[in-house]
């Protein structure tokens, strides 16, 4: 059996198992709480795993390993930012949100505000963040399939050339995520994420142990070999090859590069606690104590995983080599699967062993993408149904069954839109979309959430100003940044309307989001409602009246 057949078989097994679970979950899904929040019946540990499955995207697994393999130490910065970010969620957000919200991020933001404007703003921001993130994952899946299944340009697979196979993959992944969400709701999605988290952890742990074994468990030896093979020597193990580059003789560019590094760092650490698909995971547990436990488990699981990215990335640099990786994929996204193949050849024996390991890791990568896109589809369709349809359009005058039906239709619609957009965007470089999603989450959502929970005077005008201010600033700055135009690696390399010098807008847009929230509040004619704040405070801290 070739690696390609084995990958497909393993992935089909994963799909069949998760579909079976989804159908089982659909039988348990009767109420709106079941659909939106998995019946709030998951334990802290299960939800911790599911958070890991929701959070550790293909960008984490393939992307970080690839950046470390090609640019060395700088990839580790992502691992650190993505992990430290969880302290914001643990200390400031998770428990209070669990106690005061019901199904969506907007529940907390609109708690003490006028419903319509705040829910509309929060819903727009939820959908924008989720769609950006979703597109990046789906386009990534399309790009990966050709590489993981070894479909070279010109070659054919099941009668499809590489381009058709990409489109077929995007459609296939899109249909699966729609099925998981519409049929299984939050319960089905959660189980998919749990299974994926387990597979990803086992796969990464297996590779880490084999990499370390290849160097007789000498980390320093591994790093030395990686540095030597990269041709960059000690610099490969230091920050600076990719981010914050020093350009000799160009002080301005050097300054911008450094600012870009700081901007990326701050967006990574503040973005997580504003990602709607992560926030709604806190509603799947029975109480705030379980929400805390799930974040603690998530920190343990995610932290362990990001530590392993060091071994995967430097292992790929040492055992596969940068040249072989870039020959396969310029962005380095295939470093981890290629490393798996080398490890298989070395430890499991010959070509067959290599093919088996490659197939396992490739299937894990597809499972990873699938679990993340399902979570994103659920977050955006929940917001559309619960915030826009049930709260704004119907003013709460809607039956539970009617609301869930709309949520299912929304999931279908959002999935369909995502498929179409992803097919159009697949030739574009969309890697920046994840960074943009984090920047919008940190600039628009996080200020609104923190002010809502901790600032008594915060008003409706403040909440909408924070969300729109942060969102618009982040999107506009990215539109005029070098990642969209005016540089050879841009989305539109042949056009140039770039004037903003940084790739990541966070260092400007996050303070702007906080500033807008403050300005909107102090300039607002309508004062905050002290009774509603007292209610929010009492409920969020004691769990009284929690759903």
């Amino acid at each position: 059996m070739s690696a390609r057949t084995l990958t497909i078989v393993l992935f089909v097994v994963f799909v069949l198992i998760t579909l079976a679970i989804t159908i089982w979950a659909s039988r348990q899904t009767k109420t709106a709480t079941d659909f939106y929040a998995g019946g709030r019946s998951f334990s802290g540990f299960s939800n911790g795993l599911a958070i890991g499955g929701d959070y550790m995207s293909a960008a984490s697994f393939l992307g970080i390993a690839g950046i470390i393999a090609l640019s060395g130490y700088d990839g580790f910065l992502y691992s650190i930012g993505f992990l430290v970010a969880w302290l914001v969620a643990l200390l400031l957000v998770a428990e209070l949100l669990r106690n005061s919200g019901k199904y969506t991020m907007a529940d907390v933001l609109a708690f003490r505000m006028r419903q319509t404007p705040v829910r509309v703003a929060a819903s727009i921001s939820t959908i924008v963040v989720s769609i950006f993130y979703l597109l990046a994952q789906m386009v990534g899946a399309g790009a990966l399939v050709a590489l993981l299944l070894g479909i070279k340009p010109g070659a054919h697979f099941l009668g499809m050339d590489a381009d058709t196979a990409k489109i077929a993959t995007i459609i296939f992944i899109g249909i699966l995520m729609i099925v998981y969400v519409t049929v299984g709701g939050m319960k089905g999605t959660t189980y998919v994420q749990i299974v994926k988290a387990f597979l990803l952890m086992v796969g990464a742990a297996l590779m880490t142990v084999l990499v370390l074994a290849a160097f007789k468990f000498d980390l320093s030896g591994l790093l030395g070999e990686a540095a030597a093979k990269s041709g960059k020597g000690a610099a490969f193990l230091e920050p600076g090859l990719r981010y914050g580059k020093e350009v000799a003789g160009d002080a301005a560019q050097t300054f911008y590069n450094k600012m870009d590094l700081l901007s990326l760092g701050i967006a990574l650490v503040l973005g997580t606690a504003g990602l709607p698909h992560i926030l709604i995971r806190f509603y799947t547990v029975p109480n705030s104590k379980a929400a805390r436990k799930s974040v603690l488990w998530a920190i343990g699981i995610i932290g362990t995983f990001y530590l392993m990215t060091l071994a995967l990335g430097f292992g790929a640099a040492a055992l596969v080599g940068g040249e072989a990786i870039t020959a396969q994929d310029k962005g380095g996204n295939t470093a981890a699967p290629q490393l798996a193949q080398v490890l298989g050849e070395r430890f499991l024996g010959g070509t067959t062993g290599g093919a088996a390991m490659l197939a396992i890791i490739a299937a894990v990568a597809f499972a990873t993408i699938l679990a993340v896109v399902a979570g994103l589809t659920l977050a955006s369709s929940s917001s559309l149904a619960h915030d826009i349809y049930a709260s704004v359009i119907r003013k709460g005058q809607v039956s539970e069954g009617g609301e869930v039906r709309v949520a299912r239709i929304s999931a279908f619609a959002i999935g369909a839109v995502a498929i179409v957009l992803a097919i159009y965007a697949q030739s574009l470089n969309v890697a920046f979309l994840v960074a943009l999603a984090f920047a919008v989450a940190a600039s628009g959502n996080l200020p609104a959430i923190l002010y809502s929970l901790f600032w008594k005077r915060f008003t409706t005008a403040g909440a909408t100003a924070a969300i729109y201010g942060g969102l618009i600033t982040a999107v506009v700055l990215v539109f005029f940044s070098p990642v969209v135009s005016g540089s050879p690696t841009a989305m539109f390399p042949n056009s140039d309307w770039q004037w903003f010098p940084l790739s990541n807008p966070g260092i400007i847009s996050i303070p702007v989001g906080f500033l807008c929230g403050w300005l909107g509040t102090v300039l607002s004619r309508e004062p905050a409602d002290p009774q509603k704040y007292a209610e929010l405070e009492v409920r969020s801290l004691t769990g009284v009246g929690a759903h």
Partner: protein, 118 residues
């Protein structure tokens, strides 16, 4: 819960027990947030501006940058553990006690209406 008087939550929020709970929470999470954010910011700033320092070899091929990065993992795990312990001991018992008393209606009906705040 029985009655839901409009000022019921304000009365709870102004009670000394609740003020104590709020203070206990904020006393831990605000300073800790500032601490871990500064510590992380220091790491990012050193990565941008103190390359030579970050590149200092400690032993073998292990340099300051790697150890600094790993220390971010250590502090994250440590802060998570400290918070879990603090919440377990200082926050949960008070929150559960208050919750039970609110559910029991202790803050609902006011026996002496003249003491109710406007």
């Amino acid at each position: 819960m029985s009655t839901d008087a409009p000022d019921r939550y304000e009365r709870i929020a102004e009670s000394p027990e609740f003020a104590g709970l709020r203070r206990s929470l904020r006393r831990f999470v605000f300073p800790m947030t500032i601490a871990f954010f500064s510590w992380y910011a220091l790491y990012v700033i050193l990565s941008a501006y103190a390359r030579d320092f970050m590149g200092t070899i400690l032993f073998g091929n292990i340099n300051v940058a790697l150890v600094f990065g790993l220390l971010q993992f250590v502090t994250t795990f440590l802060i998570a553990w400290l918070y879990a312990r603090y919440a377990d001991r200082k926050l949960d018992p008070v929150a559960e006690d208050l919750n039970a008393r609110i559910q029991a209606g202790e803050f609902d009906a006011d026996p002496q209406p003249e003491e109710v705040k406007a």
